[in-house]
């Protein structure tokens, strides 16, 4: 969308009585191909934009959004934002105050170029994904999920002080689901490859991993009810931490909804645990140059030596808590000012821990209900899990039909081993070595 058009919206808002105003715009184009039984079952193309306006009038915040930019809609957008501000409470600490004369452009060669994949190539890859997978086993059924996509995104920020930020990114994904059905037993596993360039997509790893776990788990059985050490796959570990991500939120702390509100500079985890957030990580898909207030982002240490060092802060939460701004403001066109992370990195230990694989642990590769079964206030969690029982480094039993439960706060303090090799989750936003949690409760037989 043209900057001039957006500047005009700011002008209209200021002329209508706003004291301050800013705009966030998310726009995108995408192509998605799904293949079923050797034929394209779904082919989707899109082009969308959302414009989010925030105004401050008499210290009160109002926001509104729209998806078209015709004059009548813009008039309604501005009117709604000012009307919403009228009924809101005074927020003395939330200000639009970032002033920068030059345009901050976060578009980088490694994350965006103007080339586009040919639709025929996307279709061909989706067909090949399915056909190659089906060759693996005669008990495989048509994959319920099998496709390839291209995604182009652009994010814009500008405010009444003349600050302008822009960032473009491009991504490709391919995925397939191995659904094994032997008549009396079913097992399904999905795997995805996500890259910045079409030619880097790896359909083979999708096929291999999806089939490996579907096959591996179909004859799985429940563990005996008891306590087991737990090691998550990197995707599941990322999910485990994301369930409790509000623990790092200064906004949740300000709203009295963060149990760690009073824990800053206290021990909250094993002394070996270090977690940082790095928005500038080039191979991280959450790469971002500017935050939701137009600030230049930077690295933030969240936990070091097991001690909680920082929350994610924006300008308002930092003022409220009397802490420094970590420039982690988030704001989408449809959401209000918040805080959030980018690429999360858990530091590996320096040397190989020879004892990591010693004894028995339950390796979790699949879950159901990890989010819905968690209470991020009490820290209690309970979810269904599948994976493998590992004894002295060898997978000795496929496991399914069990639930794992515990308390996140206790689990963080009861980490027995941290690995030395950094691995990435599929979406390349979480980087961590393997972590072994002590004796969580597993309900099975």
């Amino acid at each position: 969308m043209k900057m001039q058009k957006l500047e005009k919206i700011i002008e209209v808002a200021m002329a209508a009585g706003a004291d301050q105003a800013d705009i966030v715009v998310d726009s995108g184009e995408s192509i998605n191909v799904k293949v079923e039984s050797g034929e394209v079952s779904s082919y989707e193309v899109s082009g969308t934009q959302v414009i989010g306006l925030r105004v401050i009038k008499d210290g009160k915040i109002g926001s509104s959004y729209c998806e078209t930019a015709d004059d009548e809609t813009i008039k309604t957008l501005v009117h709604q934002a000012l009307d919403n501000a009228h009924y809101s409470k005074v927020e003395e600490l939330e200000l639009i105050e970032v002033k920068r004369s030059e345009v901050l452009d976060g578009t980088r060669d490694f994350k965006y170029d103007d080339s586009r994949a040919d639709a025929k190539d996307l279709i061909e890859m989706a067909i090949k994904l399915e056909s190659e997978l089906m060759k693996k086993d005669s008990n495989l059924k048509t994959p319920p999920y099998n496709g390839v996509g291209e995604y182009i995104d652009e994010r814009l920020y500008l405010n009444h002080l003349g600050t302008k930020c822009v960032e473009k990114s491009k991504a490709y994904s391919c995925y397939t689901a191995a659904l094994l059905d032997t008549g009396d037993k079913q097992s399904m596993h999905v795997h995805q490859s996500l890259t910045r360039k079409f030619e880097d997509l790896d359909p083979t790893i999708c096929i291999e991993q999806a089939f490996l776990h579907a096959k591996g788990l179909i004859d799985g059985s429940a563990l005996k009810t008891g306590h087991y050490d737990i090691v998550f796959s990197t995707d599941k570990l990322a999910q485990f931490f994301s369930v409790f991500s509000s623990l790092f939120s200064a906004k949740a702390a300000v709203n009295d909804m963060n149990p760690w509100k009073e824990k800053l500079n206290e021990v909250v985890a094993s002394k070996d645990l270090k977690i940082i957030d790095n928005p500038m990580l080039e191979n991280g898909f959450a790469y971002s140059l500017f935050d939701g207030e137009g600030n230049l982002m930077s690295e933030t240490t969240l936990i070091e030596n097991g001690v909680l060092k920082n929350f994610y802060q924006n300008s308002a939460t930092a003022k409220k808590l009397g802490l420094v701004n970590t420039f982690n403001a988030t704001r989408g066109p449809k959401s209000s000012l918040g805080v959030g992370g980018t690429n999360k990195i858990i530091s590996p230990v320096a040397a190989n821990d020879a004892n990591f694989e010693e004894g028995t642990y339950f390796e979790i590769v699949s879950d159901q209900g990890m989010h819905s079964g968690a209470d991020h206030i009490s820290g209690d969690f309970s979810f269904a899990a599948s994976g493998y029982l590992v004894v002295n480094g060898q997978r000795v039993q496929a496991v399914k039909g069990v639930t794992v439960s515990g308390n996140f706060f206790n689990a963080l303090k009861n980490i027995s081993h941290i690995g030395h090799a950094l691995e990435s989750n599929t979406s390349a936003t979480f980087f961590s070595p393997k972590i072994r949690f002590d004796a969580l409760s597993v309900a099975g037989e």
Partner: protein
């Protein structure tokens, strides 16, 4: 919302490119969300969504595109891009558009566009929830609540000559209380909703709602850890129906049946459940959260008997599902917005009531769990395996409710649990929720009377 002449030209263009079917879905919706936190207005958000989705069908292949723009050139561009790989000589003929004025079965008094209730009145209503919740105990450390209203206008054109519009008003309340005692914290939550205007919210006593969420949080604060293992479970009415919805309902949608990805795809007219179980998906219930006048393919919605006395009697069928499976459409083609092609989806889904009182059901269990209120969960659509947490649960000892529990999770598979439902109560209730699937997040109701599952794996503290 879209000039019928432009619609006609776009449809004719799609058909000229060889498509068997061409459809245009136009949507505009306005929404407002008011939220209260820390006894003050937290935020008021509003917005306008507008877009157009174009669907071309070649054989059974679905091509879908969408845009925020409504000019003819953009719509022709999307149509051309969609058909690029499949273009052929025209084989179908587009019929002339025939506007149908549909009947509105869900009239509202104070929808979002009404000026009868102003923002200040809505704020004052919400503050009563906050005050009532906090009045329960000084252990209530935080309360947040909100009111959401949406006005959705849709317009559908297709190459079969259909031109139809519909208006849907939604209203939903949310209340959440946090109780704290030392290092222990717990939450209570309610979120009733309806296909209605502000009058639905006004008819809910804010003090009662606030009191209820606080009581939930306070009960959990003193709850014991849930025992783990296989045991009989009583799942109470209302949101308890989420298990049937997730573990069985999705497997009855032709979206999964047509791919043979459902365990029920070849079970029509067969016993798939205990004879105590009859289940319905009904889009016609007046002003219910999951109701619609017409589905998002323009067909008048219906009441569909899914299971009768344990026997599978119908799937939920959309246009493409009908083409692929041969079953008749059930007015179940739904989508979150113009950004999604429609798919067969649930509306208000419930297990029909039986004869037993809740007390009678509980009295049959020596050692088990009573789940008064279910929380969220998930299901593997390929296998029907599910996992749900209980928001409020109690231990049953010797046929009586013993004490509150926390951390209860139910795990099983849809086809298995249907066989193990041995008693169904007489206290049918439905509850509002948002259902996520292939065509996005849509309003649906789940429901049931209290029911007994003879054996299910309960995840708790081992």
């Amino acid at each position: 919302m879209l000039n019928p002449q432009i619609a006609t030209e776009v449809i004719e263009y799609g058909i000229s490119l060889g498509a068997d079917f061409c459809e245009i879905y136009v949507e505009k919706h306005n929404s407002t969300n008011i939220s209260i936190l820390s006894s003050k207005v937290h935020e008021i958000k509003s917005g306008i969504d507008f877009g157009i989705g174009i669907r071309l069908i070649y054989g059974t292949k679905v091509l879908y595109g969408y845009t925020n723009k409504s000019d003819k050139e953009e719509l022709l561009r999307i149509t051309r891009a969609l058909a690029a790989q499949d273009q052929r000589d025209a084989i179908a003929t587009g019929l002339a558009l025939n506007f149908i004025k549909n009947v509105d079965y869900h009239t509202v008094k104070n929808g979002l566009s009404s000026t009868n209730v102003n923002t200040e009145q809505k704020i004052q209503y919400l503050l009563q929830i906050d005050q009532a919740a906090r009045a329960q105990s000084d252990k209530i450390s935080q309360v947040n609540c909100g009111a959401f209203q949406r006005l959705q206008n849709i317009e559908i054109f297709n190459s079969e000559g259909l031109h139809i519009t519909d208006t849907r008003n939604y209203a939903r309340l949310m209340a959440n209380a946090i109780a704290s005692d030392g290092s222990e914290q717990s939450t209570g939550y309610e979120a009733p909703g309806a296909l209605s205007g502000w009058e639905f919210i006004e008819n809910i006593d804010p003090k009662e709602l606030g009191t209820n969420v606080s009581k939930q949080a306070l009960i959990k604060l003193t709850a014991d850890d849930c025992p783990a293992g296989k045991m009989p479970v009583v799942i109470d009415s209302g949101f308890g129906g989420v298990i049937f919805h997730e573990a069985c309902g999705h497997s009855l949608e032709t979206t999964s049946v047509q791919k043979k990805a459902s365990v029920f795809w070849d079970k029509m007219d067969q016993m798939i459940a205990n004879p105590a179980v009859s289940a319905v998906d009904d889009g016609t219930m007046k002003n219910y959260w999951g109701s619609i006048n017409i589905d998002d393919e323009g067909m008048e919605t219906k009441k569909t008997q899914l299971i009768k006395d344990g026997k599978l009697t119908s799937f939920l069928v959309d246009k493409v599902g009908a083409m692929k499976t041969g079953y008749e459409r059930t007015g179940s083609g739904r989508r979150q917005s113009y950004k999604f092609a429609p798919a067969s989806r649930m509306r208000n889904t419930y297990i029909e009531p039986g004869d037993h009182s809740l007390e009678e059901i509980i009295a049959t269990i020596d050692n088990g769990i009573y789940c008064k209120k279910m929380g969220g969960g998930s299901v593997n659509p390929g296998t029907g395996e599910f996992n749900f947490s209980a928001q409020e649960s109690y231990l049953i000892k010797n046929g009586k409710i013993d004490r509150p529990l926390k951390g209860a999770t139910l795990i099983g598979s849809g086809s298995d649990i249907l066989q193990k439902i041995s008693m169904v109560g007489n206290n049918l209730e439905l509850a509002a929720g948002m259902c996520g699937s292939v065509s996005g997040a849509i309003p649906t109701s789940v429901g049931q009377a209290a029911l007994k599952v003879d054996e299910i794996l309960v995840g708790g503290k081992a």
